[in-house]
Each structure stands twice: as C-alpha cells, then as structure tokens.
C-alpha cells in the first residue's frame, strides 16, 4: 500500500473538501488550505527522495478485458515537476493570506485554488493518459473559475471565457489523441507508449493533437491571446498559473513525450511555433502598459524558449529553464501584486516611488528576480537562457535567440525602472504597508532564485539521461554584453521622470502590440461562426415552415372537400348521376376499343 503514497501528494484535494464542510468556512478556509499544501509538501519531499522510479496503479474501469487505470509514476521528470509545485504551493497560499484580505468569499477562493493545486500535483505524477487527462481538465476548469474569480468586474467574465474556450480546443484534441493512441496501441501507459517501435500515421496524428493541446495550455501561437487576459484573475493566481502550474503543463507534456516526437520527426513545428511565439511575446512585452501583463508576455516568451529547446531536442536546456523560471516568475508576480496593492495602480506608467527606501526587502527581492530573468551570472536565468542559446542548431536561430535575450532584458528593466521613478508629490506610504504574509514568500522565493543557478549542476546528477551542455567562453560573454546593453538602453529610456511613453494610438504601439493580428482573426472567426449560425437558423425555420406548410395544405384540402359533404340531397343526387355518367362513358370507351 505504501506505493500509493505519491497519490497522497494531492492533499490539497482533501483540503478543498474540508473547506466545503468547515463550519466557519470563510474564516477557517485559509488555514485549512495552507495546512493541506504543507502536508502535500512533506509528502512530496518523501516521494521525491524515496519513490523515484516507482509506479502505482489502481484499476478504474475495464472494457473488453482492457483495464483503464489510474496510474501514478514518479519518473525523474515527474518528481521534478512535483517538487516545483510542492514548493511553490504553500508560498502562494501564504501570499494569498495578505493579498486576499476581504472577509467574504475566502472559502470560494481557497477551495478553487486548492483544487487547482491538487490538479497540478495529480498532473505531475500521472503515469498514463487517463490520469493525466483528468488532471488536465481539472486544471482547465479550475483555472477558468480562478481567472473569473472577480466575475462582478466588467471585463472578467469575457477574460475567463476566452481562456476556457481556448483551453477546450486542447481538451477535445487531447481526448482525440487518447482515443487514437488507445485504438492503435491498446495502452495509455506513458512509459509503454514511449517504448513503442517505429512511427505510424496514427502516432503522428496523435502527437500532432497532443502538440496543439500543449500549445493551448501553454499559450503558444496561435492560442496565445488568453494568457494576457487571464491577468484579470487575482495576483496569487497569476503567480501560480505562470510559475509552476497550468502553462507548464503543456511544456511538460511535450517534454515527457519528446522521444516520440523525435521518433516521428516532428521537432520542426515545435521549434517554429516557439520562435513565432517568442517574437510576439517580446514585442508585446515591450509595448504593454499593464504591470502584470508585461510579466504575462514574459511567461509566454519563457515557455516559447522552452519549446524552442525541445525543438532542438535539448531536454536539459528546456528543463533547466523550466526549473529556474518557476522561481523568478513566481517572485516577480508577487512583487507586481505587492506594487499594485501598494499603489492601487495597474498601469506601469502611473506607478512611482518603488525603491530601496520605501520597502527594502521587496525591492531587493524584486531586483534579484529581474536580474535572474534578464540572465545575469550567476543567477538561474543566466544558465537557463544560455542553455537554449548554445543548443541552437543554426546561426540564424542563434542570432534570433540572442536578439530575443537582448529585448527581454530591455523590457524587464523597463518593468523595473518605471515604478522606481521618483515622484515626491505622491505618497510612498503604501509600500510600507505591504503585509508580512506577502513579503515572507517573496523573500523565500528570492533565496530560491539565488540558489536556482545550482540547478545547472544538480539536475544532471539527479537525472542521468540529461546530457549537460557545456558553457564556453564566447556565448556567456555575448549574452552578458547584450543583457547589459539592454539594461543601459532601458535606463536611458525609462528611468527618468518623463519616461519614453508609447501611446496606445501611436504607430510604434500598433507595430509592436498586435500579436500578428491573431486577436482580430479570432474576432472574424467568431463572426463567421455566428453568421453560419444565423444561416442555419434560417434554414431550420425554412424546414419548419415547409413542414407547417405541408400540414396546412391538408387543412386547406379538408376545407375544400368538406363543401361536397353539405348534407343536401340535391348535391348528392347530382354527384351520383355524374358518377353514373362518368362510368358509362368509361365503359363505352373501352367497348369502342
């Protein structure tokens, strides 16, 4: 029975159930949720230390002699993701203590986010596609609920709908892939599927479906639009969604199936989509004004970089960025949330006075996060980005990647400099009132970000199958030089009181902030579907009226015929006589013949 322990890491699920049952649930919810997440962290620690390589299965239902199981498997990659989720979850919950400080709706929030955490943990340990699909759909639905948490705000329902209607495309395709894989191989076990020999058409089709599903979850082109709108959710949710859960699910799915993609020769589309998305993300991040949306586009870029690495079949580089990105992105989102809470502003051009003097801990932690994202030695981001640059297969792609690194350095320092501008007329008191429950997780994450560079050395020890890339001399020099150049340019443009401002109506803004018109495309697509719907409705009415017309014609016929049956002897006698005459004529005609 001890093998079932990994399944217990979904302890937040129990917490969610308890939250519903609790008596003073609005008051107790946060403690129950935190306790659940800490419990799961303990279990996850044990699992990651002692259970690696173990699998556990319990039959769910069987069909035609084939068993559909709930399978958990703790392969090294699973353990990695599980550990990341386990570490981040309690921090997010703790941060929520301070951030979600309204009295009401506490239980709904902690219920939903506990369910969300449990879904991601289940996803991390799932050893077959059935289990994974359960987690996958739970993730989609709970993220929908969380993004739409403040549904009373005007734009929120639409943002949530945009997320779910993108995600549902992936859900249906994932289901289709499951069906194809099961029909072709009669198994859904991931390790069994990884060992199948040869590549068939069905394998390719299933992999293509899964790839699209992964792109919808990880917000890659052309499914990238929901991610920035998802910023309407509470900030802890954004921090959670963008660091270790949800968007990572797509990357993770492709990562564990990477041998199959290699076998099927399908790395090219992964690489291409990754590159397109990275370019879109950087362009948007440079021109965005919303403090959280800049980070959202940055996540999109990080994910795109991971996909690019997967496209090079460089699993180590991808997973390294996967790990380090978790910490710095969680940290940066928490900082953004704190700034928003301190200033009450979402527009980055209207925030001021963020600095060393106003909140030491917050400022230093934020700088650590920013430096890591930009890729400064020896922080984690440096190794992550370097790994992807060095695995580039051609010179052109290398140049593109380095340019992306440079631009991401520009936008992240812009993100840092703009709120750091001084405006002595505005009060900076807000920064001092950021509650401790929000600062503590930020500080812990800052330490983790500082330490995350070690992942470069530790990952290969942990997971022997990942060949380490070697750091040369030239690559790090190029990267560092470009990052510093980005820092300098951002400083010149944005650190003064009158920062360079890209208006929403200006040409530059339109040039940068269009996501290649994918949003407009969707608007037209929906219009098209709506028109189609109108057409079909008209057709339906037409069918209906044909049938009604048919029915009505019987009534008319009846009305016409009822005149004959009028009860008058004269009429009947005439008809009788006419009939006789008619018959006589007919017989006579026959006789003549």
């Amino acid at each position: 029975m001890l093998q079932a322990l990994p399944l217990l890491s979904v302890a937040p699920l129990i917490a969610a159930a308890l939250i519903i049952l609790a008596i003073h649930r609005d008051r107790a919810a946060k403690y129950i949720a935190l306790a659940g997440s800490v419990l799961s962290l303990i279990i996850i620690t044990v699992v990651a230390l002692y259970y690696v390589g173990g699998t556990y299965r319990v039959s769910w239902f069987s069909l035609q002699g084939y068993s559909f199981n709930i399978t958990t498997s703790v392969l090294p990659l699973n353990a990695l993701l599980l550990a990341l989720v386990g570490i981040v979850t309690p921090l997010i919950f703790l941060y929520s203590f301070g951030y979600m400080d309204t009295k009401s709706e506490q239980s709904r929030y902690y219920f939903e986010i506990s369910l969300f955490a449990a879904a991601m943990m289940l996803f991390a340990i799932s050893g077959n596609f059935i289990t994974m699909f359960i987690a996958w759909e739970m993730l989609g639905i709970t993220s929908y609920l969380l993004i739409g948490f403040w549904y009373a705000k005007k734009v929120v329902p639409d943002a949530a709908r945009k997320a779910i209607s993108t995600i549902i495309i992936g859900d249906i395709l994932f289901l289709a892939a499951i069906i194809v894989l099961w029909s072709a191989y009669r198994t859904l076990n991931i390790s069994a599927l990884l060992s199948i020999a040869g590549s068939t058409v069905y394998l390719k089709v299933a992999l293509a479906f899964i790839l699209v599903a992964a792109f919808t979850k990880s917000a890659q082109f052309p499914f990238n639009e929901w991610l920035s709108d998802a910023m309407e959710g509470p900030t802890p949710v954004s921090a959670f969604l963008h660091s270790s859960t949800m968007v990572k699910a797509g990357v993770f799915l492709v990562a564990i199936l990477l041998p199959l993609y290699v076998k099927a020769g399908m790395l090219m589309p992964i690489l291409a989509i990754g590159l397109i998305t990275a370019i879109i993300a950087v362009m948007n991040a440079l021109s965005e004004h919303h403090i959280k949306k800049i980070l959202a586009y940055s996540t999109m870029e990080d994910l795109a970089l991971m996909f690019i690495a997967l496209g090079f079949n460089a699993i180590f580089a991808a997973m390294l960025l996967f790990v380090v990105q978790t910490f710095y992105k969680a940290l940066l989102f928490m900082s953004a949330g704190s700034i928003m809470k301190a200033t009450g502003e979402e527009n980055i051009y209207k925030t001021y006075n963020f600095g060393f003097k106003t909140n030491k801990l917050l400022y230093i932690s934020t700088i650590i996060g920013v430096l890591s994202l930009a890729g400064i030695f020896p922080l984690g981001g440096f190794f992550g980005k370097l790994g992807i640059d060095t695995s580039a297969s051609s010179m052109y792609i290398y140049v593109a990647l380095v340019a992306i690194d440079f631009l991401s350095s520009v936008y992240i320092f812009r993100w840092l400099y703009l709120p750091s501008r001084k405006d002595s007329y505005l009060s900076s008191f807000g920064y001092r009132t950021v509650p401790r429950s929000m600062l503590a997780p930020i500080a812990i994450l800052a330490v983790l970000v500082l330490a995350s560079g070690l992942a470069y050395f530790m990952l290969p020890m942990y997971y022997a199958a990942m060949p380490k890339f070697s750091i040369g001399i030239i690559d790090p020099l190029i990267e560092t030089a470009l990052v510093l150049a980005g820092l300098g340019i951002a400083y010149i443009l944005y650190s003064r009181g009158r920062a360079t401002h890209v208006d929403a109506s200006s040409m530059e803004y339109k040039l940068l902030h269009n996501s290649f018109f994918i949003n407009a495309f969707y608007v037209y697509l929906l219009k098209g579907i709506e028109l189609l719907g109108e057409g079909f409705d008209a057709l339906n009415d037409a069918i209906n009226s044909v049938i009604n017309g048919g029915a009505y014609s019987f009534i008319l016929l009846g009305n016409a015929l009822k005149r004959i049956e009028n009860g008058s002897i004269n009429t009947y006698a005439i008809a009788f006589a006419a009939g006789i005459v008619f018959l006589v004529i007919v017989f006579a005609m026959n006789l003549i013949k």
Partner: protein, 469 residues
Amino acid sequence: MIPEFSIIFAALALGIVLAALLEKRFSYYIGIAATAIVLVVVLLIVAYEYVFGASVMAQTYAYIPQFGVHVSFIATPISTVLLTMTAVVLFAAALSSGKNGTSKGATVLMLLFGLAAIGLFSSSNLILFFIFWDVGVVATFFMISYMGSANRRSAALKFLVYSLGASAALLLGIILIYFGTPVHSFNIAYIISHGSLMPIGVQESIFVLLFVAFMIKMPIFPLHSWMADAYTESSTQGSMLISGVLSKFGAYGMLLLFLMMPIAAKYSTYILALAAISAFYAVLVAINQSDMKRLISYISMLDMSIILVGIASITVIGREGSIYGMLAHGLGIALLFLVAGSIEGMFGSRSIKFIRGVVEGSASAAYSFMLGIFSLTGVPLTVGFIADLLIFIGAFSAFGLYGLIPLGAILLAGGLLYLIVSRSIVNGRNGAEAPYLPTASQKAGYAVLLLFIFAFGMLPFILLKIIGS
C-alpha cells in the same frame, strides 16, 4: 426471487390512482414516494447485477399466447442502465416540482410517463414495446398541452403528428419483423439472435421503417422540427422528462434495431455522416437561439446525434459508449432544463438577453448549470466523459479519423455554452433583485442529478461491468 418489476409498476400505478383520487395537497408527496420506490428498486437491481453478474431478471405473464405475446419484463444490461437513468430523472422531476408547483394532473401524467418509460425499456417483446411507446406518446402529449407555456397547444399537436408518423412506421416495421423471422416471433432476444436469417429485402424495408421511426424520436436531422417546440413549451418537469427520457425511446430503439438487423452494417457509413451532419446542424442552429430552453434543446439534439455515432459504429465499445451516453445525456440535459426552469422563474423570461447575473441570485443554479456543461462536454469524473471516450473509440475503430469529426461539434457546443455562462450566468447583478429564487425542492433536484452525474462518472466500473456482461 423478488418480483422487482411488479413492485415498480405497482408503485407507479398506485401513485397514479392515489394522485387522481386524493386532494391536490397530497400530489407532491405521492409523486415523490412512488418515484423514490422506483429508484430504490432500480438501484437494487443495479447492485444485484453488479455483485452477481447480470443474471437476467425477468417476469412473464401470458397476454396473447396464440401469437406468443407475453407481458414479459426483463432487465437486460442495456435496460438496466436506461432504467437507472429513468428512475433518477423521474425522482429528480418529482422532487423538484415543489409543493406549490404540483397539481393532480401533473403528478398523474408524470407517473404515467414513468410507467411507459420503464415498461418500454424493460419489455422483452416488440408488442409490449409498441404499447408502452404509445402510452409514452399519449402521456407526453398531455404533459405538453396541459402544463406548458403560451404556445403549448401547437407544440403538443406538432409533437403528436410527428409521433403518430413514427408510431405508424414502427408498427408496420414490427409486423414485418414478425412475418420475417423464421419462427414468427415478437421476442426481442430471439430476433437479435436470428435476425440474420431474414431475407435481405425484408431486412432493408424493416430497417428503413424503424430507422425513420426512431430518428423522429431521438430526434435526428431532418426530422427534428417537433423537438425544439416540445422541449421549450413544456413545463420544467415536462422538459426534463421529454428531453431526458422520451428521446431515449428513440435511442434505445435504434440500438435494438442495429442489434436486430445485421443489414445495418451496410449503411453505417451513411448513418455516421447523417449523425455528424445532425450534430453540426444542431450546434450551429443553437448558436442563434435567444430562448434559453430552445438553446438547450438543440444542445440535446447534438448529444443525441453523438449517441447515434456510437450506435452506427457497430462496435461493442461504441455500443457500450452509446448506452453510457444515453445515461449521461438523460442526467445532464435534465439538469440543464431544471436549471433553465429555475432561471425562468427568477427572471420571468427565458430570453438570454434578459438573464443577467444568475450567480448573484442563486449560486447553486449557476454552479449546477456549469457542472451540467462539464458533463455535456465530456469532462472527466462526470458521466459524460466515459460516454464520449467509449463512443469515439468505437467510432475511430469503425471509421478511422472521420469518426472523430463529430468531436468538433462538441467543441463548438462547449464554446457556445461558456459564452452563455459569461454573458448571462455570471455577468451583471440583476439576479440579486430576482423576486423568485430557486426553491429548496429545485435545489434538491439539482443535488440528486449531480450526485448521479458524478457517481456514475467517478465509479464507471459499476455500470460498465453490467453492460459488458
């Protein structure tokens, strides 16, 4: 041996008599008591068949022995699932009608309808099948014309005309079957095992006749015009029963038809095409509906088309999936209609242009609606997932990737329903001022349906073991 069918029919018949004789204030409780007994007995049948394997439960009495016609009821694996669905929907309908919303006539008709449904799903010969089919039609006709909303009369008449057409085709088909079988017989089990002995020509005529009859009841494009009116104009309980249970008359018949007539395999590709067209047609028509119940009607039609996909695959898994799909559709669509009824009560209108902020008025209605959507779009742990998975495994093995095309219609339906949620269910605050919030009995109805939606979604092995045996 416990005479389980006698108990069910006795409970329903007694309920009908008592509801008709006693005062109106007892009707609600009589309805609940009768349907609760049915539910308990049916769940006992399920438990028995799960534990002891599907030892086929049957009860037989002579009716017209000269023609080998017996009043004979049997709980085959397929019937067991449908009986479960019927019992749950009946109980939920009885429970949710509320003390003030129940009249003598409503209870009588509901129980009569339940009698017809249970009789039909458990009848072991085609004569009995036909009798209960027509009892169901009569009960439904009165249910629509007696308890519906403004345009109920024309809706009921339209339903009746279509149903008479279906009944005529059905009767003719049954007579042809009787004379087509080597030993003239109405027995369904016998026909299933000996159907292949019938001459091809006879099989073809029977297939066409019965296919049309069942197509009307399901309904499948292009014979669906009665559906939207009937579902929309009925009372809430009427909509639940008609959409949840009556549509299964057609689906169950279709399933039997494919089992009885091996010739069906010849047409399966065309039927898949028809089902796919019907699915996309339904969802595309649904897009432009502004009436909440009408919209749900077309979603229901979409789901019935998906069930037809499973039946048309002529694979064991696809068939099992379609049986599970009938369960899923019955529970899910009954839930959606029940919620739609509550919402209509809240806002005094069914137009989605007027419905705003349901969640502010009644969180339970809003969340039940969302959970119903989850089941209809096949989210795991709801009953809809098992259905979709099995249906499309069957469709894929029969038709290859073409078999997966109807998934696109489910995708569109999901997008549409989430749009409704964002526009009407959670948007705005009007719900907070709604004068009539969902009653406790309605909420109990949601709870019953949701309980079974999740129970059969999380524990699919119970019914799948029964179906598979």
